[in-house]
C-alpha cells in the first residue's frame, strides 16, 4: 500500500502544482517535482535544481500548505505546495524536516535556563548586593556623600516645609547635647545638626553627616536622655554611612529585580512588592546596627539607653499587628526590650540641666 502510494505520487508528479522561489529573485515559478535520489525541481520539463532530502527543512507556512527550504540552497529559496499527496510524500521522504524547528525541543531548556537565571538573580540580590554595598561604601569619597546629602536636603526642605528652629537658648542647649553625643561617639567636628519645625515625630540622618530632629519628636520627649539616644541612633547611621549603603543597595536591587518580569505589562506592582521585602530586611539590619551604636554612646556617657526605647514606644505604640517582614524598622517593642536589657543606673552627670531642657523643648518658640 505504502509503495503503491509512492509510485502513484511519483508517476503523477509532473502534473502536481508546486511553486518555487530561487531566493535570488522574487520570480514565481510553477514547477513539478520528481522524487529521485534527491528531490528534483523541474520547470517546463527542465531540471532547475535538485535538493538532497536530508538538507530539506520546514519553513513557516499558512495552515494547509507546506513550505520548504534547503540548507545547500540560498537561504531564502522556497518550495511551496498545497497538494495533499505531495505534502504527504515530502513528509515521508525528508527525515530531518523539523530538525531545526524553533520552539519545539527548546521550551524545557528555556524554562530551565530562565529558572537558573532567576535563582542567580535572587541569590545576587540576597547575598551579592549587600556584600557589594558594604565593600563599595568605604570607597565612596566623603565629598560625594556630602553632595548626595545636599540634594537630599533640598528635597527634605521642600517636603517638610523646612523651617529651622533658631531660638538662641534652645539652640545652645541643642548644641550642648549634640556635642556630648558626638564626643562620646568619637566624631570629628563636621557633624551638622538642626531642629526643624514639623509636627511629625521623627529624626533622620542625611548622607554626608547631617542630622535633623523634628520638633514633633521634642514635644513627645520627657527628658534629655531620650533625645540623646535618638541623636546617637542617627549618628550611628552617619558613622555606618547607611545613606550611601542604602543607595547602592536599593539601586542594585531595583535594577536586578527589574530584569525579572521585565516586559509583562502591569508587573511593576509585583516588582515593587518584592523589592520592598528585600530592602526592608536590609534596612532593619541597618537600624539594629544604629541602635547598637546609640546604646554604646549612652553607656559611655554614663546614661541609660532605656529612655530612648521608651520615647520610640510612646511615638509608635505597639506594632505587633503589622507584618514584621515588611517593616523597614525592627518592631518598637523589640527595640524597647533590647534597650531595657541594657538599662543601668546613671553613672554620669545629667546631659542637660532642667533649665536647658526647658529651653530645648521651646526651641521652635519665637522669642527674643
Amino acid at each position: 500500500m505504502d509503495s503503491g502510494a509512492e509510485n502513484s505520487a511519483a508517476a503523477s508528479a509532473p502534473t502536481n502544482p508546486a511553486i518555487y522561489f530561487d531566493g535570488l529573485s522574487s520570480r514565481r515559478r510553477a514547477v513539478s517535482l520528481v522524487f529521485g535520489n534527491a528531490l528534483e525541481i523541474n520547470q517546463d520539463g527542465h531540471a532547475v535544481v535538485a535538493w538532497s532530502y536530508d538538507d530539506i527543512r520546514r519553513a513557516d507556512s499558512p495552515a494547509g500548505s507546506l513550505r520548504l527550504s534547503c540548507l545547500a540552497a540560498p537561504p531564502l529559496a522556497r518550495l511551496e505546495t498545497r497538494d495533499a499527496a505531495l505534502v504527504a510524500e515530502l513528509n515521508s521522504r525528508c527525515a530531518r524536516l523539523d530538525q531545526d524547528a524553533p520552539g519545539r525541543r527548546g521550551v524545557g531548556a528555556i524554562v530551565g535556563w530562565s529558572l537558573a537565571a532567576a535563582v542567580s538573580i535572587v541569590a545576587v540580590v540576597l547575598f551579592g548586593v549587600p556584600l557589594a554595598a558594604d565593600r563599595l561604601t568605604p570607597l565612596v569619597p566623603q565629598s560625594f556623600e556630602r553632595r548626595l546629602g545636599a540634594v537630599a536636603e533640598q528635597q527634605v526642605r521642600i517636603v517638610f516645609g523646612g523651617k529651622v528652629c533658631e531660638n538662641p537658648a534652645g539652640r545652645a542647649a541643642f548644641i550642648k547635647l549634640v556635642n556630648a553625643v558626638r564626643e562620646a561617639g568619637n566624631f570629628e567636628a563636621s557633624v551638622e545638626s538642626a531642629v526643624l519645625s514639623s509636627p511629625i515625630p521623627n529624626a533622620f540622618a542625611l548622607p554626608g553627616g547631617k542630622v535633623y530632629l523634628f520638633s514633633g519628636l521634642l514635644a513627645k520627649a520627657d527628658n534629655a536622655d531620650e533625645i540623646a539616644g535618638i541623636l546617637g541612633h542617627e549618628l550611628g547611621h552617619v558613622r555606618n554611612r547607611d545613606g550611601t549603603r542604602t543607595l547602592i543597595h536599593n539601586g542594585g536591587t531595583s535594577f536586578l529585580i527589574g530584569l525579572l518580569f521585565g516586559d509583562i505589562t502591569g508587573s511593576s506592582a509585583l516588582i515593587f512588592a518584592s523589592r520592598s521585602l528585600v530592602t526592608a530586611s536590609y534596612s532593619r539590619e541597618a537600624e539594629q546596627a544604629a541602635d547598637s551604636f546609640a546604646i554604646s554612646v549612652m553607656h559611655r556617657l554614663g546614661r541609660s539607653p532605656k529612655p530612648m526605647g521608651e520615647l520610640m514606644f510612646r511615638v509608635t505604640g505597639k506594632e505587633a499587628s503589622g507584618l514584621s517582614i515588611l517593616a523597614n524598622h525592627p518592631l518598637t517593642e523589640d527595640r524597647l526590650a533590647r534597650m531595657s536589657r541594657e538599662d543601668a543606673p546613671p553613672s554620669g552627670p545629667p546631659l542637660l540641666t532642667p533649665q536647658e531642657w526647658q529651653s530645648l523643648k521651646a526651641i521652635c518658640v519665637q522669642g527674643n
Partner: protein
C-alpha cells in the same frame, strides 16, 4: 501554467488577506502567558517571535504568504547587548543628574531629552530588525539609513509637538515616515511614502479637537472664575462632572477612530517602486476592539475583587467581616493569595490584549488593504543584509513602543 505569463492589459488590484486561525492564536498566547509566568518573564522573546511568525505566515499578498525569519535567540542576545550598553549609561545618568540637580533644580531635563533620543533610535532600529526578517516570495525586505539621523528628526518634531499641543502630529508622522520608507527596500525595489500631513489632518482634526482642544478649553474656563462672569463659572462647575464622564465614555471611540484613520493614511501612503498600497479601513472599524478590551478588563477586575473578597471571607468568616481589614493587615496567607490573584489577573489581561489588539487588529487592517501594480514586484532581485536585534533590545530595556 501558461496563463501565468499572460498579463491582461489593466491589472486589477489584488487584496491582502489574513487566514490565521483565531483559536490557534489564542492557544499560542495562553500557552505563552503561562510560560512567561514560569520563566519570570524571560519567555517574552520566544512569545514575541511566535506571535510574529503566526501573523506573518498567515498574511497572503497576491496569493503568496509572507514569512517571518527572526528567531527568539536574536532578541535575547539583542536584549543582553542593550543591557550591557544601557547599564553604564544609566549609572552616568544618575551621577550627572545628581550634579545637575545640585546646581539647579530641573537642570537634569536635557538628560531626559537624551533618553527620548535614545528611544527614537531604538524604534528605528527595531523596525529595521523586523523588516529584514520579513520575507515574501523568497526575497527579504531591508532597510538602510541611520538610526541617529532618524532620532534627531523625531526629537525636533517632538519639540514642535509640545508647542502645538499635538496639532502638528500629521506632518510629524508624514516627515518621519518619509525618512523611514525612503530607506526601506524590497529586494532592489526602493520604498517611498506619499502620504501628506494635510490628508491626515483633514481626516483626523475633529478627533484632536474633541480629545485635546475641548478639555483644555474646559479646564481653562472652569479654573479661574475671576476671569469670567460668576453665573457662567457656576454653570461650568455644575456641568463639569458630566463633561468629564462624557469624555471618559467618548475616549475609546475617539482613540479607536484615531487609530483607524492613522492606519488607513499610513498604509495608503506606502509605495515600493510602482507597487502602491491602499487601505479601505473605515474609521469605526477598530472601535469595537477597544470596547471589547474594556469589557474584558472590567470583567477581570470584578472577578479579581470577588476572588479577594472570597479569600478574605474564608479566612475571617462572614460574621466577623466588619473587622476584616484590621485582622488581615499583614497576614501572610492573605498576601500570598492576593499575589496569586493579581498575577492571574495580569496574565489574563495580557492574553486579552494580544488577542484583540494584536491579532484581531492585524486581521482587520490587513483584510482592508489592497495593492495596485503588484506586477512591478514580479521579478525583483534579492538584496540587503540582515540587521541585528540591538534596537529591539533597547526598545525592551527602555520600555518604548512604536514602529
Amino acid at each position: 501554467v501558461n496563463q501565468m505569463s499572460f498579463v491582461p492589459p489593466p491589472p486589477p488590484p489584488v487584496p491582502v488577506s489574513f487566514s490565521g486561525d483565531r483559536g490557534e492564536f489564542r492557544r499560542l498566547v495562553e500557552y505563552g502567558a503561562g510560560l512567561e509566568l514560569i520563566t519570570v518573564g524571560f519567555y517574552r522573546f520566544w512569545l514575541a517571535t511566535d506571535i510574529r511568525r503566526h501573523l506573518w505566515s498567515n498574511t497572503h499578498i497576491d496569493g503568496d504568504a509572507a514569512e517571518y525569519t527572526g528567531r527568539a535567540r536574536e532578541l535575547l542576545i539583542g536584549f543582553l547587548f542593550a543591557l550591557a550598553i544601557l547599564v553604564p549609561i544609566y549609572l552616568s545618568y544618575f551621577l550627572v543628574g545628581l550634579e545637575a540637580e545640585r546646581l539647579k533644580a530641573f537642570a537634569s531635563f536635557p538628560l531626559f531629552a537624551f533618553f527620548y533620543l535614545f528611544g527614537q533610535f531604538a524604534i528605528y532600529r527595531a523596525r529595521r530588525y523586523r523588516l529584514t526578517r520579513t520575507v515574501w516570495r523568497g526575497v527579504r525586505f531591508w532597510m538602510s539609513g541611520s538610526g541617529w539621523a532618524y532620532a534627531a528628526r523625531a526629537a525636533l518634531w517632538g519639540v514642535l509637538m509640545i508647542f502645538t499641543l499635538g496639532l502638528i502630529l500629521p506632518w510629524r508622522e508624514a516627515a518621519l515616515e518619509r525618512y523611514k520608507m525612503r530607506h526601506s527596500f524590497y529586494g532592489d525595489l526602493q520604498g517611498s511614502f506619499e502620504g501628506r500631513g494635510w490628508e491626515f489632518f483633514k481626516r483626523g482634526w475633529w478627533i484632536w479637537f474633541t480629545a485635546i482642544a475641548l478639555p483644555v478649553i474646559g479646564a481653562v474656563a472652569s479654573a479661574p472664575p475671576r476671569f469670567f462672569p460668576l453665573p457662567l463659572a457656576k454653570a461650568a462647575t455644575q456641568i463639569a462632572p458630566f463633561l468629564w464622564f462624557g469624555m471618559l465614555v467618548a475616549a475609546p471611540f475617539l482613540y479607536g477612530a484615531f487609530k483607524a484613520v492613522q492606519w488607513r493614511w499610513w498604509i495608503s501612503g506606502i509605495r515600493f517602486g510602482d507597487v502602491r498600497l491602499e487601505s479601505e479601513l473605515r474609521p469605526q472599524a477598530l472601535i469595537g476592539l477597544y470596547w471589547k478590551v474594556i469589557g474584558w478588563f472590567l470583567l477581570l477586575v470584578v472577578l479579581l475583587a470577588v476572588y479577594l473578597f472570597a479569600c478574605a471571607a474564608a479566612m475571617v468568616g462572614i460574621s466577623d467581616f466588619s473587622h476584616a481589614a484590621g485582622k488581615l493587615q499583614g497576614s501572610i496567607p492573605m498576601l500570598v493569595l492576593g499575589g496569586i490573584g493579581y498575577l492571574a489577573f495580569i496574565l489574563l489581561l495580557n492574553v486579552v490584549f494580544r488577542i484583540y489588539l494584536l491579532r484581531d487588529l492585524w486581521a482587520r487592517v490587513m483584510g482592508s488593504t489592497i495593492l495596485h501594480h503588484i506586477e512591478a514586484a514580479a521579478n525583483v532581485t534579492a538584496r540587503g543584509e540582515l540587521a541585528n536585534a540591538l534596537g529591539e533590545g533597547f526598545a525592551d530595556g527602555l520600555d518604548v513602543a512604536g514602529f
